[in-house]
Symmetry: C2
Subunit: 194 residues, 2 copies
């Protein structure tokens, strides 16, 4: 069932033969993570691409005032990593944490390189993931400069429809870039309208 999910995810972008599928799945490691476990800390080198089977992870940074800023959430069927650190193999700026008990499939940097050698189609797959990350980042920069908190909240809801009800409001506030207090007021204003 975990393997089914990841193979489905990949088949959206490339087609694999049965043999290629088993080569791929042979490189994966299954990993359980308890809620609140830190998977990657700021300053560490990111060694894995992580695919979320169940649960949910988040990546975030901590600013000089100790305030956390959520970069990304990863509900089931999403990939997560500190892309910069993963690509460069240099220390990264992000922390990654399980916000629920989670089940992950790990693909190490080494295995990923092997995959490129044996099944070049995977170059395409991971290139597409990188492109999507880059495009999302670009868009977010523009959104943060041109939209109100309310509009950014709407974008959040479209991007993570499954998370709206399960996630602590605090985390959503941190993602869209406002304080929990302001987020609370904003929501009650929205409810009064529609």
């Amino acid at each position: 069932m975990p393997l089914e999910l990841i193979l489905d995810n990949i088949s959206k972008y490339i087609h694999l033969t049965d043999e290629e599928e088993s080569t791929f799945t042979g490189l994966l490691q299954l990993k359980q993570l308890k809620r609140k476990t830190i998977w990657l800390s700021e300053g560490e080198i990111c060694k894995y691409s992580v695919f979320v089977v169940s649960g949910c992870l988040r990546s975030y940074t901590v600013d000089k005032n100790g305030i956390e800023h959520v970069l990304d959430f990863a509900p089931p069927d999403w990939w997560i990593a500190d892309m910069y650190s993963l690509i460069t193999q240099k220390p990264g700026i992000a922390n990654i944490e399980a916000i629920e008990d989670s089940e992950l499939l790990l693909l190490s940097k080494n295995s990923q390189e092997k995959l490129y050698m044996t099944i070049p189609k995977f170059e395409r797959f991971f290139r597409i993931l990188t492109e999507k990350a880059l495009a999302a980042n670009q868009q977010r920069i523009v959104d943060n400069m041109s939209l109100t908190a309310e509009e950014r909240y709407n974008i959040f809801c479209k991007r993570y429809p499954t998370l709206i009800d399960t996630l602590p409001h605090k985390q959503i506030a941190s993602y869209i870039g406002v304080t929990p207090e302001f987020f609370s007021r904003m929501r009650s204003a929205l409810l009064r309208k529609g």
Copy 2:
């Protein structure tokens, strides 16, 4: 002289033989751009990596209220492109414009692919450029969420030391994400201090 500049730029990351250098330079096109000329418009497909020899370009988006947001400046010795569109060859969201009379060296997407075939070292070079773009975007998201306009201005000054005096304030304001009016007040407050 233009070729010297771009070869120096590349030699920071990879070493080329004389023969490789001439293969590379043979793929470049020289291009003059008059001030205020649009080089790439939103919705177009980005077909070139652009290296700035002299002058200066900027990339920006226009939001739904018609307000421009500067994504990046490219003074001499910098590369510029709509990275997302260049990589995917899909329509992009950025505009790129010459803000001074400029002299460019163009490397078409096709030539870039050829380069990868004949001189694989260039894979490394352009991978590093992409990584830097990704890292810069990630950092900017965090900066926009956690820093004041004044702190973002300081970062701008470090990133583009040569542009502080030559660029219209308007453009700097747009890059750091404030109105020209607020930027003006901010600067006069800074002068009063030190």
